[in-house]
């Protein structure tokens, strides 16, 4: 049998194979979509809402970490996780700080959020479904948020400086600029946002904000937050060399913020990051039941001043509590025992402040001290001492050094465990006022730039390699 006649069966088989062949060539079947994440691209109003919420969520994501990290550096808190002694060693005994983990935070997510904000602005700019006023409102919101993110970067990196530019297309490295330039860039961004929020007029934001922004969720009211943040930056700049012009600018910004030092004013009024037990939402990980190993430095109690009746500063009782049994460091010679834990975030969903009235009053006092307006400053300090701490009034502020000491005491207790003390003592060159609990401990002045950033920059032209790395 050497021929190969086409019997019906054979024809059928060939036809079947051709069918499969054709099916096989159908490349359309291979266009499988992304099921788990939405593609970058087109926008509509609902997506704009998700992106706006994403900016707030990303910023919230770094908040508890910031406070607990700078809390350890500023001797406010410890993390005594039994199974993870590196929460002690990598913050207090290992010098220099490890730039590959644990102590390299407040970098990647902050820049990611700056990118989120820039993306958001690009999308808003091109959105046909927004009015001009809404676009302006959206820009003002995003610029304020990205300025705040950059503040967290430079506050933790300080003298290392940071890059301020970003290229969303090439993703290329941008040069480090000095601390001063970064702060000036933040001021300028906040001022730009201020203008944009003003330009929005009475329009509403084309998205809603979480409840932590209640009272500040329109362009007009959000502008008060923008000015409050601008004041904080001006005051920082004032203490870092700018001096009087910045302190003056701070006072001006405070004037447009939500500062209120009337009798009985709500010191807690401000903007907050909010938490929820809803599925997919986040809990406040500074809460004691969420993070039982995040506890307080025992120095909080003895350092507190006494009220007239002999009981300690009311802020101590309001913010910390005694725990039993005493907590010890997770390893030999790592840390000292403490029986103090924080109670200022009593629930798993207690909000964490971004900026609030009590800080604004202290910022005004600080700006006035910087301008040597000691009398005005004394009024604000005594207002806080009395209303927050139940403490007797100070008689007078005599000189800058004494006034600063008084100011830093109030800032320490008023803003306890809200992420300020380490920055404050560093700004004033008073890092050595932080206690060394054990001879093996040391004091940190900057958090390192992540190893990954530096490894990448090492491959770049010389001008991009440093100075932060």
């Amino acid at each position: 049998m050497t021929t190969f006649p086409m019997t019906p069966t054979r024809r059928g088989l060939l036809a079947a194979s051709l069918t499969v062949l054709l099916a096989g060539c159908n490349g359309e079947r291979l266009n499988v979509p992304s099921f788990n994440d939405p593609a970058v691209g087109a926008a509509d109003r609902p997506l704009l809402q998700n992106l706006a919420s994403g900016i707030v969520a990303e910023q919230r994501g770094g908040m508890a970490g910031l406070i607990s990290n700078v809390g350890i550096f500023g001797r406010e808190s410890y993390n005594y996780t039994g199974s993870e002694p590196r929460n002690v060693t990598f913050f207090l005994t290992t010098f220099p700080l490890d730039n590959s983990g644990f102590t390299n935070g407040q970098w990647d997510p902050r820049f990611r959020n700056i990118r989120n904000a820039l993306n958001f602005i690009n999308i808003a700019d091109g959105a046909a479904f927004l009015t001009e006023a809404e676009k302006s409102a959206a820009r003002g919101f995003a610029n304020t948020m990205r300025a705040l993110d950059l503040y967290y970067v430079i506050a933790t990196r300080d003298t290392l400086g940071a890059p301020t530019a970003m290229d969303l297309v090439t993703n290329s490295a941008q040069p480090f600029v000095s601390r001063d330039s970064v702060y000036r860039f933040i001021s300028a961004t906040l001022d730009l946002a201020n203008t944009q929020l003003q330009a929005a007029g009475t329009a509403a934001f084309p998205f809603s904000l979480p409840t932590g922004f209640t009272g500040f969720n329109t362009p007009a009211t959000f502008r008060q937050v923008n000015r409050a943040l601008a004041a904080r930056i001006h005051v920082y700049r004032g203490t870092l060399g700018c001096g009087a012009p910045c302190f003056t600018a701070a006072l001006a910004a405070l004037g447009e913020s939500f500062i209120n030092s009337a009798a009985g004013a709500d010191l807690r009024r401000g903007v907050y990051h909010t938490y929820s037990t809803a599925s997919g939402d986040a809990l406040n990980s500074l809460n004691n039941s969420v993070s039982p190993d995040v506890i307080a430095h025992p120095g909080i109690r003895p350092d507190a001043q006494l009220q007239a009746g002999g009981q300690p500063d009311a802020r101590v009782a309001a913010k910390v509590r005694t725990i039993s049994p005493v907590r010890t460091a997770p390893g030999t010679n790592l840390g000292i025992p403490t029986d103090v834990a924080f109670s200022l975030y009593p629930d798993q969903t207690t909000p964490i402040p971004i900026i609030r009235n009590e800080e604004l009053i202290l910022l005004r006092a600080e700006a006035n001290i910087g301008l040597a307006n000691f009398g005005t400053a004394l009024t604000d300090l005594n207002y806080i001492r009395s209303s927050a701490g139940g403490l007797p009034a100070l008689a007078a502020l005599t000189d800058a050094t004494q006034a600063t000491t008084a100011l830093l005491y109030e800032r320490r207790y008023s803003l306890l465990f809200e992420g300020h003390r380490w920055f404050d003592v560093r700004r004033y060159g008073r890092i050595t006022t932080l206690p060394l609990d054990l001879p093996t401990h040391f004091r940190v002045t900057v958090m390192p730039v992540p190893q990954a950033e530096c490894v990448f920059r090492a491959t770049q032209p010389a001008e991009l390699r440093g100075p932060g790395c």
């Binding site: 049998m1 050497t2 190969f4 069966t9 088989l13 194979s17 499969v20 099916a23 096989g24 060539c25 490349g27 291979l30 992304s34 099921f35 788990n36 994440d37 593609a39 970058v40 997506l47 998700n50 992106l51 994403g54 969520a57 005594y80 996780t81 039994g82 993870e84 590196r86 990598f90 290992t94 983990g101 990647d108 990611r112 990118r115 989120n116 993306n119 890059p163 970003m166 290229d167 993703n171 290329s172 979480p210 929820s276 599925s279 997919g280 939402d281 986040a282 809990l283 039941s289 969420v290 039982p292 190993d293 049994p325 005493v326 907590r327 010890t328 030999t332 093996t440 990954a452 990448f456």
Partner: protein, 1037 residues
């Protein structure tokens, strides 16, 4: 009319030549026992038969002289010349103890005799797989596959193992072999079940499950008893026909099939038990001071004193000692397995049916695994030309694997808690009410942050249920069949579908439950996997009468689809006693993936010159939905050749030289091509979206492996000696890595084909039959493998593979150009002296190597009449392990050898092993005459500044398998048993009976991070290894 049709049909089916009948009997040489199921085939013709239970056969033979080939798995094939007048031919087959005559798989479903194979292919027989029961096929394969590293992740029942063929071939892509069972591409996914919600190994808030969940890989669903033969294609040329899924090797599983003739039953019953192979021990306190010191470390001084006082009072003033590991993992409940197989059928319809049920009880309370398998394989000859097969396989596997591995606050993993609990504390005791006592140690003096493992394992449910169907249907049409031309079409469709269901429940009253502020934890996780593949193939065999060779051309099309949908829900804050997740605070998670592939292939094979020369070339084009360009076919060519030098010297039967070259691919993973936004959490009831920290890459393509393999196979002394040697050298180009972007750009990395890896190695197997006489056969095998993998190119990439290792303090993998892919990197002090001034720094550098120097497997089988003894010993030299578990014991001063002498007693400052770095200078650790070992290790580790302390040598010698079996002789059976029973075998077998190792931990082969490509060296609070004994009875009738 009807008559003429029948006549015509008869005429058509009538071969050209007249026929005669040939009968005979096939027996085993030496014993003269009949050999059933042997294939008797006319060479070059279609006539054939299969021998009966009595070894007899009858076939319709062509007229004239011809050649008859008789073969049977396990015997050397025999070729006879039959003269034109002959009507009977008896054959005696010699046992093929060295498997020289096996048949291997080449092209998808194509076969080739092993003697001609041009690549080193490992074949494992049914007998080798099932001789000693194993928790899963991975375990059964340990030590049997030269060229692969096969490790179990832990000692938990139910499986969880990894096969890595010829080194690390991918960092971010799939790194495991492709598994094909009867032509069905099957999933070997390892899907996390949610243990993380109890152990919190990878954090709690954002993760329900994690890679540290002690996952089982789904190879565990396959019943080894259903397997006829398992082959591992290692080199690129061998696996090239699996295209862009073949860089990691291909494991081809062939299940048993029916044979015509008398229906044969086989029943296997096994019973046995598992016991702790090697515990970790506890420190025995010699005085109350040290006991209080240790207790203080894990709680505080007050609790330590109080608990020690109570313990002393309850033990006549002596310090009690509890070896917690032996207590908790001391269970020895019976395990058993029952299997029934039946084969038979007519010439037209042949079937195999198999059912089995297996229960493996773990060595801790509430830990076990079961597997039920059912399979029906049917072969049908529809017409002379058309045949079909239908295979239906069903599996139901369950596993209760307890809690083990890494753990964070609250600490719930038993071995972790044991590390923190001083041995004087009676953890396994009960209080006055009969409840488990509250563990006071390990939670920083707060009991809700620690746990009592005796309570945890007794009460926590961590149950995995898996239902799986694997089925195949194949239709083969022999379109043409002449002496010179054979043309065959076949179409195969395979389906693999499973649903893995994990349920985890931690009741409200467990010690650690209040830790998160909510009582009770429940997880419900479901994974649905569905895979489908189709293969259309045409084979043309051309054997010209005039030419001294034959050609085989195979061409085909394949289409594959794999979908996986994983959904998990966790609830905390439960209604007491109710494990439902629709209560309390919930967290949900879902992930879907779907991938489709299409490919074409052509293979040309030449076999000729008295079957001495074999050359094959193949090419395959693949495209996949996972590639950036889904339309583009990526082409993978291969060539291979072998030449047999027969009777080279009087003592050398044959020397085969072989060489091959090939390319294969490894397609990207699902999702790596997409540019997406990433969800960053719910806030104020709205889903937040933002930049994904890793960018997808729309230009992503498969990793490309190019491999050269050279080797020889030598047979000498009449088949008594066989030596196989293979050298391979592979390069993986376009390796998928995460290309770095500056983090300050807001994105940190992007998937890209920017890496290059290289692997090379030597594989040697020496098979010897030192003794083969009537009463005794001794078969000895030594297999040796040495694999080296190096990163050739990894510039500016994220060098840290995701989800493996605990960082610089404990050792971790790192992908660095010019360095071993499996090097272990970690901190160590480095001292440098410049101008007489020494500076000391702590650097992240290479401190170990995960790949062993070599692995050697020794297998010896002694057969004396009906008695057979098999012993397998595995020896691994090198292969470092990150012993994080020891670090936990040292942290709390509870290591069993804590009180041994420190090596630094009396040491000088110049001894680098006795100094640590403080403030940039060296400082001695405790060198006093009482300095002890536990404190020395802890001090030397120095909070993670010297990771050489936990990174330790993992060399071992394991007595992997011992089997003693007795085939009851026919005479005895006739006297005592029913006539119909044709064979009875009794066996006593054991697995992992002993281990000899300098390693401090329980087992150097484990992996805290489960199956992964490069980080298989972390040992932390692993489920302890067990030794297993089984007694089996096999009945055939």
């Amino acid at each position: 009319m009807a008559l003429s049709t029948i006549a015509l049909a008869a005429l058509l089916s009538q071969p050209a030549e007249a026929q005669r009948r040939l009968t005979g009997k096939v027996t085993e040489e030496g014993s003269s026992a009949p050999v059933p199921s042997a294939t008797v085939q006319v060479v070059g013709g279609t006539a054939g038969a299969i021998t009966s239970n009595a070894g007899t056969y009858t076939l319709n033979a062509p007229s004239g002289a011809f050649t008859l080939r008789v073969r049977r798995i396990g015997y050397r094939a025999q070729v006879l010349q039959i003269s034109a007048s002959q009507t009977t031919a008896d054959v005696a087959l010699k046992k093929d103890v060295l498997q020289l005559d096996a048949v291997i798989t080449t092209a998808q479903q194509g076969t080739l005799e092993k003697k001609n194979a041009a690549t080193a292919t490992v074949q494992v027989t049914s007998e080798e797989l099932t001789r000693v029961p194993a928790v899963s096929i991975d375990q059964a394969l340990q030590g049997k596959v030269v060229g692969a590293r096969i490790n179990m992740n832990s000692g938990a029942p139910g499986g969880g193992g990894q096969i890595q063929v010829r080194g690390v071939t991918s960092v971010l892509g799939n790194g495991e072999p492709l598994f094909v069972i009867d032509g069905v591409i099957m999933s070997n996914a390892s899907i996390a079940g949610g243990q993380n919600s109890i152990s919190r190994a990878s954090g709690f808030t954002a993760n329900i499950a994690s890679v540290q969940d002690n996952r089982t890989n789904r190879l565990a669903d396959i019943n080894p008893a259903e397997i006829e033969d398992l082959q591992i294609l290692k080199g690129a040329a061998a696996s090239a026909l699996y295209g862009s899924r073949a860089t990691n090797g291909v494991v081809i599983i062939t299940t048993k099939r029916g044979k015509s003739g008398q229906t044969r039953w086989n029943v296997t019953q096994r019973i046995g038990q598992a016991s702790l192979l090697r515990g970790v021990g506890q420190r025995r306190f010699l005085d109350t001071t040290s006991a209080i010191q240790a207790g203080t470390q894990a709680a505080n001084a007050a609790i330590a004193r109080e608990q020690l006082t109570a313990a002393l009072a309850a033990n006549d003033g002596k310090i009690p000692f509890n070896d917690f590991t032996s207590q908790l993992f001391g269970r020895r409940d019976a395990s058993w397995e029952t299997g029934i197989q039946v084969t038979g059928g007519s010439d037209a319809t042949r079937f195999l049916a198999s059912v089995s049920r297996k229960l493996d009880n773990g060595i801790a309370i509430n830990t076990n695994a079961t597997r039920d398998n059912a399979r029906i394989n049917v072969d049908q000859t529809i017409t002379d030309r058309l045949s079909a097969r239908l295979d239906l396989g069903y599996t139901r596997s369950t596993a209760n694997r307890g809690i083990s591995g890494n753990s964070n606050t609250p600490v719930t993993s038993p071995l972790y808690v044991f590390g923190a609990t001083p041995s004087f504390f009676n953890l396994n005791g009960r209080d006055a009410q009969g409840n488990f006592i509250v563990n006071r140690f390990g939670g920083n003096a707060n009991p809700i942050n620690t746990s009592n493992p005796f309570q945890t394992l007794a009460r926590v449910q961590n149950e995995e249920n898996n239902d799986r169907f694997i089925g195949a249907a194949e239709l083969t049409y022999q379109a043409l069949e002449t002496a010179t031309n054979k043309l065959r079409f076949s179409y195969l469709i395979g389906v693999d579908r499973f649903t893995q269901d994990n349920q985890l429940y931690s009741a409200n009253d467990l010690q650690y439950e209040p830790s998160d502020g909510q009582l009770g934890t429940a997880v419900q996780a479901t994974a649905n996997s569905r895979q489908l593949n189709q293969l259309l193939k045409v084979t043309h065999q051309f054997t010209p009468a005039s030419a001294p060779f034959g050609l085989t051309t195979t061409a085909g099309l394949t289409q594959e689809e794999q979908g996986l949908n994983t959904a998990r829900v966790r609830a905390i804050g439960l209604v007491p006693g109710i494990p439902n997740v629709n209560q309390g605070q919930q967290l949900t998670f879902q992930s879907r993936e779907l991938q489709r592939d299409q490919a074409w292939f052509v293979r040309e094979e030449l076999l000729g010159f008295s079957e001495k020369l074999y050359v094959a070339a193949a090419i395959r084009g693949d495209r996949s939905s996972n590639n950036g360009d889904v339309e583009k076919y990526f082409v993978f060519p291969s060539v291979q050749g072998s030449y047999r030098l027969v009777k080279l010297l009087p003592t050398i039967d044959e020397l085969k030289l072989r060489a091959s070259w090939g390319q294969t691919g490894n397609r990207p993973l699902y999702g790596q091509r997409f540019l997406t936004l990433s969800g960053n959490g719910l806030i104020g009831g709205v889903n937040g979206l933002g930049t994904a920290s890793t960018l997808g890459n729309p230009a992503i393509k498969p990793e490309l492996k190019e491999e050269v393999e050279l080797g020889f196979d030598l047979q000498a002394l009449g088949g008594r000696v066989a030596l196989e040697y293979t050298y391979f050298d592979a390069k993986v180009r376009d390796a998928l890595l995460l290309r770095n972007l500056p983090n300050s750009s807001g994105v940190t990395t992007q998937f890209d084909n920017v890496g290059q890896l290289s692997n090379n190695g030597h594989e040697v197997a020496l098979n010897v039959v030192p003794v083969q006489r009537k009463g005794l056969t001794w078969v000895s095998r030594v297999a040796f493998q040495r694999i080296r993998n190096v990163v050739e190119q990894a510039d500016n990439v994220n060098s840290f593979p995701p989800n493996v290792g605990f960082g610089t303090a404990y050792g971790r993998p790192r992908i660095v150009k010019g360095v071993s892919t499996t090097a272990i990197w970690g901190n160590r002090p480095i001292f440098t002296t410049v101008n007489g001034v020494e500076t000391a720094v702590v650097r992240d550098t290479i401190i170990g190597e995960g790949t062993p120097d070599f692995e050697t497997y020794f297998t010896n089988t002694f057969t004396v009449g009906p008695l057979s003894l098999g012993v397998q010993v595995d020896w691994r030299k090198g292969g470092d392990v990150s012993n994080v578990g020891q670090n936990v014991f040292d942290q709390y001063r509870n290591a069993r050898d804590h009180d041994d002498a420190s090596p630094c007693r009396g040491a000088a400052i110049t001894r680098d092993d006795c100094v640590i770095v403080t403030g940039g200078a060296r400082r001695l650790v405790d060198t006093s005459a009482t300095a002890n070992l536990g404190d020395y290790r802890w001090a030397k580790w120095n909070g993670g500044q010297d990771a050489r302390v936990p990174v330790q040598d993992g060399s071992f010698v394991k007595l992997r398998e011992v089997s003693l079996s007795y085939d009851v002789p026919a005479a005895v059976m006739r006297r005592f048993l029913v006539e119909r029973i044709s064979s009875v075998r009794l066996s006593l077998v054991g697995r992992n009976l002993a281990v000899w190792t300098p390693y401090w931990g329980m087992d150097p082969e484990v992996s805290n991070f489960g199956n992964n490509n490069v980080g298989r060296f972390v040992d932390l609070a692993t489920f302890p290894p067990s030794r297993q004994f089984f007694f089996s009875v096999d009945l055939g009738f």
